[in-house]
Symmetry: C2
Subunit: 425 residues, 2 copies
């Protein structure tokens, strides 16, 4: 139960023949349109965040423009998200943009909306022409299959998968102003996962990765406030995970609101907004963790928490080095408490700290304290137990500053190499 | 033939029992001391570069101090380098420094020098106490075994290896001012390789990795000029390689000069200095490439060249993202021309460029031109041939700027995971 649980949404998924495997590869999520001549429309909106890669897929180029138009009220919010797997429509130049727009144009009249209200999204192989003909011929069926319920949710979640072993979805319910608000979501991940979504005002160029997450809610919240909520959530969820530290050209998180739960519009600065954002953040962290758990070849996940840095940003940089080090990832895979790799990975973030004030714990066991090894730790049975878990937690302290942060990664296995040495060709 | 080929140097290597395997693990390289009462001593010097990791081994702490003292002429140049493998003496706090100094103190009188003239260097497991007793008991034998010739060179090169499959050495000869100058070197690498040696004046904190290189020369060059030559060489050799993008706490390059080739001292700003630096740079690049070829689990190497960036630094950042992406490394391993991974890796360097002006070639085949795929490329037999080579070369153009750079990496294999999931414990 996911994207069609909130009131006002339907979804569908089918196989259009984009993937050579013949598995489902086309997904549609659509907000119901008000009946002609109906009373006051609900407060509906859309919000989205995209990869910060300098090379972006055609759908991102379209989506960035759509977001700007929607936030400046020159255009209605996105009403439908049209996703294909198997082809990322990236590094495809102007033709890629035309191909994506052709799909939006074919789909829009079937939903009673304009092409500009359709957000395209693509994931898969890079640099191949989008198989538009296959997609156009599948669009009428896809639109016809739009439905509510668990079968529709499952079809949608399945059709956006690439190397994912499991579909990913989440559901949250929260009471705001006496109304029950539902938030549903589907996501895909697995490879090219290290999202750095553009959530700040200036949207700076930083590393990014392909992760897709599509969220629906019946909360009454317009695009501007929904974007503010999403920006606040991405930084502490999707932007804190990495499978392979390789940013994709297609990372996308999009949220649609229908307003059908009713009640007063939710606006930034109010307790209602805080409640809504908290629920959205929890859901985003849930999705983010599901993505890491199903990271390509992953057998266990590990969280690095860094404390005592000068700033949260410095702590984030240190934590990111730790979870992305291949040596650390292999040690986690081998259940090897080789903590020197963790400490030296942390030392490579371009952040100065004094090892004499640095410490490291693995699970409940402090292995390094104030710059020297805790010799007894290596024979502590709790250390072996902590390393053997499906989720390993390490905490590195680098000083006495107020900055702290966490990042979530996964181990590096032979299976990762197997998957990625034999993909595409 | 390596470090004892230049006039005025001897070397030795033996097994002191530091490595559990019982393999050689103790190495000594020493400059001959002038006979008591001898005439004008030759122009001799020492220079060194160290990791920029925030967490450094005890030998680095000592070496940084030594360098500063030598360059300010408060102390004589380094006359001997004492290296152990099997234990990095890092994350060992003040005791680690005392342990290293104890070794220097035991060794110095045997060589007729002061303890300050001994540069210690360590590589191996992090966070374990240095086995000083074993080292002290081996030191007299080590000093006694100092010799010239290929056996001594081989013993020295073998004793600094860790997970290296092959010993690494290099030799260069250059005629300067009518004199034949010889430069010899040994090195080790294999894992924790992505050196960012401190070569600029302010020695900034940037990521770093364990690579050791020890160079001797009979050129007449003092410490100040030798340091200038080394700084110029490291940036375009060791600092351009990466095996695993994990900076070590122990990276060290050290050069000793004996001056025994005779002739006028070589000073910066002269043609002689330019000639010497060019020869040293070629030797350093040779060593750097040997290290990548023998990177843990590596089956082939690949060079990413980036052109058309605004600055060389921007080009370096893009090239570094390309060679360090696990997805790219796996594609290289699998001989898979999945160039979308290369282009998107390049897009993640935090450097803005317009994909419409970006192109990529793999070997002689352009696969991506001005932002669009070159469709015919994928069936070009030269592409398959280029991917199958032991050295894959990719060139990415990102615009029309003057900035360019290259980085050299290796593929990511299952063997890498095998090696690193089962090291130490």
């Amino acid at each position: 139960m996911s994207v069609t649980q909130p009131l006002g949404f339907r979804a569908a998924g089918l196989a259009a023949g984009i993937k050579p495997s013949g598995k489902p590869d086309l997904c549609l999520i659509a907000r119901d349109q008000p009946a002609p001549g109906s009373a006051t429309p609900h407060t509906a909106g859309s919000a989205m965040s995209f990869t910060t890669n300098a090379v972006v897929g055609a759908p991102i180029i379209i989506g960035q423009r759509t977001r700007a138009e929607v936030l400046s009220a020159r255009q209605k919010p996105v009403a439908a998200i049209f996703i294909n797997a198997g082809n990322s429509n990236a590094a495809t130049g102007q033709q890629g943009v035309l191909d994506a727009l052709a799909c939006c144009q074919a789909l829009a009249p079937l939903l009673g909306i304009t092409p500009e209200e359709v957000l395209p999204s693509s994931t898969g192989v890079i640099g191949r022409p989008l198989p538009v003909a296959k997609m156009l011929s599948a669009i009428p069926t896809l639109a016809r299959q739009l439905a509510r319920g668990s079968a529709a949710d499952a079809a949608a979640a399945g059709a956006i998968m690439t190397t994912d072993l499991a579909p990913k979805s989440a559901l949250a319910r929260v009471h705001i102003n006496g109304r029950e608000i539902t938030i549903g979501a589907i996501a895909k991940g697995s490879g090219m996962i290290a999202p750095r979504l553009d959530t700040s005002a200036d949207r700076p160029p930083v590393p990014s990765a392909t992760m897709l997450a599509f969220i629906t809610t019946d909360a009454p919240i317009d695009s501007t406030n929904l974007q503010a909520a999403l920006d606040a959530c991405c930084q502490d969820s999707f932007n804190r995970i990495s499978v392979d530290n390789h940013p994709s050209c297609s990372d996308t998180v999009a949220v649609l609101s229908s307003g059908q739960a009713g009640g007063e519009p939710i606006v930034a600065g109010t307790p209602a907004f805080t409640q809504f954002t908290a629920a959205l953040a929890t859901l985003c962290r849930d999705l983010a963790e599901q993505i890491v758990v199903d990271g390509e070849g992953a057998t266990r996940i590990f969280q690095a928490t860094v404390r005592g840095a000068a700033t949260d940003d410095a702590a984030t940089r240190i934590a990111r080095e730790i979870i992305n080090s291949p040596l650390v990832k292999c040690a986690i895979h081998g259940q090897d408490p080789n903590w020197g790799r963790i400490v030296t990975a942390g030392g490579n973030a371009g952040v100065r700290f004094d090892p004499a004030h640095a410490s490291l714990s693995i699970g409940p066991v402090e292995v390094y304290r104030a710059g020297v090894p805790v010799v007894a730790a290596l024979t502590d049975p709790r250390l072996k137990h902590a390393m053997a878990g499906k989720r390993v937690e390490v905490v590195m302290t680098v000083g006495t500053g107020p900055g702290q942060a966490w990042m979530l990664g996964c181990d590096l296995s032979k299976q990762y190499v197997f998957i990625n040495a034999e993909y595409t060709t």
